[in-house]
Amino acid sequence: MDYTISAPPHIKSKFSFSSINRAKILALIPVSLASVYFFGMPALGIILAASLAAVATEYSIQRIFKKKVTIMDGHAALIGLMFALLTPPEAPIWIPIFGAFFAIAIGKHAFGGIGSYIFNPVLVAWVFVRSAWGDFMTPASIPSLGQLSDLVLENGAGLLVDVSPILLLSGVYLVYKKYIEWRVPLVFALTVFFFNQTVAFLSAVIGLIQEGVLNPLMYLSTMFIFLEVTDELSYVMVGIVFFGILFLATDTPTTPVTKNGRLIYGFACGLLVSIYGYFGNYVDGTIYGIFLANAIAAYIETKTLPAMFGHESLLERSYKRIMKRIPPSLKYEVISDE
């Protein structure tokens, strides 16, 4: 009888590159359907054109350069779909086709294919198309959260992805199912949220100082701003920011691999998006913010390489140094180790 021999491990997890891509495509289908419902046939045309163009580009590139054709892993279709969702519905049909072509040909393959690109191909294509044909790519309106029903169906949607923030929360399910790693989206979301609250808090404090208020309770009461929903936040609760947090920033090749690096990267994304969004608008802000954060991802990674196992970190060392100084009578009765 023949037995297979191979190196261990003999079982592997069910996640594969194609299953991750398929899960992401599935998670984006609800919002795509909502955009078709809202914008009608042009939206459907854009989504189909971009996805097909992306797959066709990948196929022809891999055939021309005599590489293994990998269109079945779903990555090209995912990039096409993501680019389509970042297109305004008024755009002529050649815009998504060219964008998908540019994303695959330049954004992905010119950098060396999957795993090697340093900028998210979707963002590369979007930034290029936006710079080249700004008229077509400028959304008709910038969405903001007026009433709660806007979370379900946003009437001021400018891009396809803006139509329904709540349907994009399917990405949270992917995080729960571990298709997406939690560190980047969590820190990104917290940063975007607290940036605006902190700005509002600081401006309130500065306002009090300018009025010459001396009562410390007045200053303390400004802390309650953290509990209020500020005006600025209504510009954050839109589809594209959710899309950026859950789908664009979590593109794995453009994220640092170290654990601390991912936390810092999430913070950098949040900070850049917030600054752009605060002074400009959150549609451009999300895309340019994440695009810039991609540029520093490799730097973050090399600066956060984990230390040798069992090595004390700076925090542990300083804690021990402080604990040594404290006289034993003040300490709790802790029996020291060997």
Partner: protein, 448 residues
């Protein structure tokens, strides 16, 4: 948990003369000799060797190279078994001294499951042991030989005292798994020096030293999470005692002897019953209809064990030990050795046939690594032969647990590449040190 014996005595057994790391044994029998159960058939020729005993009654068919679960062929004694339970006379030891104990361990052929003969762990040459640990975190090694958990706990405690006596260590500890409630309950009932034991959880920075002082006892039982892997000893020692083991060293260098449950039980039997180590408990895994634990004679070929089970479908892969670190076998003629803890069977459909893709930097391997390495970088460096850079990234800390390869969505053989790099580094390092013949004197005692 009850364990079952095989219904029939295997037709022939293959007993390798080297079931440990070190020097192979010298065969004591010749072709055509009659042997009894427990008869010594291989004698150790150096300190780093452990005796081998026959596990059946019968006639020696041959002494030749035969397949071994580690993948190589090893000189083995092949015995044709007869249906008899006749054993040699077992002599229990009466209050043995430290020297006697070491001789008993070597004479009974007691070997750790990770390969080292137990007496070299307890009494390494030129090193002093002051702490003995019994690693009981993998419960499939435990089950089987005991009627009740209490019996298991009290025998383990006796065995620990014997191990401590043999090594001359004053302190000893048994480490059980955190979620293994049966064992924890059993140990809670045991009394040491008139005091009831409390199973102490290893939490945060509290390690064994804390509990030795806290409980005012030289013997403690602690619990921690299970660690799986191939080279886990140093990691285990650090987790339990807080003592760091330098690269290229083993726990005995910091005065810790780590023993398994199996060898502790074997020592208990050797001292109280005089029985040498010729039987072991293994478990079966995979799509088989089998008792969970099987009591087998060392040397039983895998095919005899497999034929006792009803297997659903066609066997695609036979793995000695677990699915994460076990070695796939090319034949079912390999015998159970002292290092075998489990046999895993996979069907043809379960055998993986994936193709490695490019790394997508998803960092699942980084999250999975228990010793905070970066497998995503290491596998690329290993593949390109940049071993020095691997070394700068602490590749030697890898405990070969295989979690990175398990988690990889691109199905890259990360563990294999890391092992390749580790081997290359070890070889380069050995070349660099002067040979014994050279008169060059090193500044330190060898090593770095």
């Amino acid at each position: 948990m009850e364990s079952k014996r095989l219904k029939t005595i295997p037709e022939k057994v293959i007993i390798p003369l080297k079931q440990h790391n070190g020097v192979a044994c010298k065969p004591l029998v010749n072709k055509g000799d009659q042997v009894l159960i427990g008869q010594k058939i291989g004698e150790s020729v150096s300190y780093y060797s452990s005796d081998v005993h026959s596990s059946v009654c019968g006639e020696v068919l041959a002494i030749e190279n035969a397949p071994n679960p580690d993948g190589n062929k090893v000189l083995s004694v092949i015995i044709k078994a007869v249906d008899s339970e006749e054993t040699v006379a077992f002599v229990p030891a009466n209050n043995p001294s430290q020297k006697d104990l070491i001789a008993i361990i070597q004479g009974a052929g007691i070997v750790e499951h990770y390969g080292a003969p137990t007496h070299t762990v307890l009494k390494p040459e030129g090193k002093k042991i002051d702490l003995v640990l019994i690693n009981a975190t993998a419960s499939e090694w435990i089950g089987g030989k005991y009627a009740t958990p209490t019996e298991y706990a009290s025998q383990m405690m006796d065995a620990l005292k014997l191990l401590m006596k043999a090594s001359g260590a004053l302190k000893g500890a048994i480490i059980v798994r955190k979620d293994d409630n049966d064992s924890i309950e059993a140990f809670e009932g045991v009394k040491v020096d008139g005091k009831a034991l409390r199973v102490a959880p290893l939490l945060g920075t509290r390690r064994l030293g804390h509990y030795f002082k806290d409980q005012g006892s030289n013997i403690v039982v602690a619990s921690q999470e299970r660690i799986l892997g191939r080279n886990i000893l140093n990691f285990f020692t650090y987790n339990v005692t807080g003592r760091k083991v330098a690269l290229g060293c083993n726990p005995t260098d910091v005065g810790v002897a780590v023993c398994g449950v199996k060898s502790a039980k074997a020592l208990y039997d050797a001292v109280h019953e005089g029985k040498p180590y010729y039987e072991t408990v293994i478990s079966m895994e995979g799509a088989v209809n089998c008792p969970e634990l099987i009591f087998v004679r060392i040397g039983t070929p895998f095919k005899d064990i497999i034929s006792e089970c009803t297997f659903n479908g066609e066997i695609g892969k036979i793995i000695a030990n677990g699915v994460i670190t076990g070695i796939a076998q090319y034949t079912d003629e390999v015998p159970v050795t002292k290092g075998t803890t489990r046999i895993t069977l996979l069907t043809k459909e379960q055998v993986l046939r994936d193709e490695s893709l490019d790394c997508i930097h998803c960092a699942r391997c980084v999250d999975a690594c228990p010793v905070s390495l970066l497998p995503t970088r290491l596998h690329v460096l290993a593949e390109q032969g940049r071993f020095d850079e691997c070394r700068q990234m602490h590749i030697q800390f890898c405990i070969e647990c295989g979690r990175c390869s398990f988690a990889c969505p691109s199905k890259i053989h990360i563990l294999q590449l890391i092992r390749y790099a580790k081997n290359a580094i070890e070889q380069a390092y050995e070349d660099a040190t002067p040979k014994e013949s050279s008169n060059l004197k090193l500044g330190c005692c060898g090593g770095e």
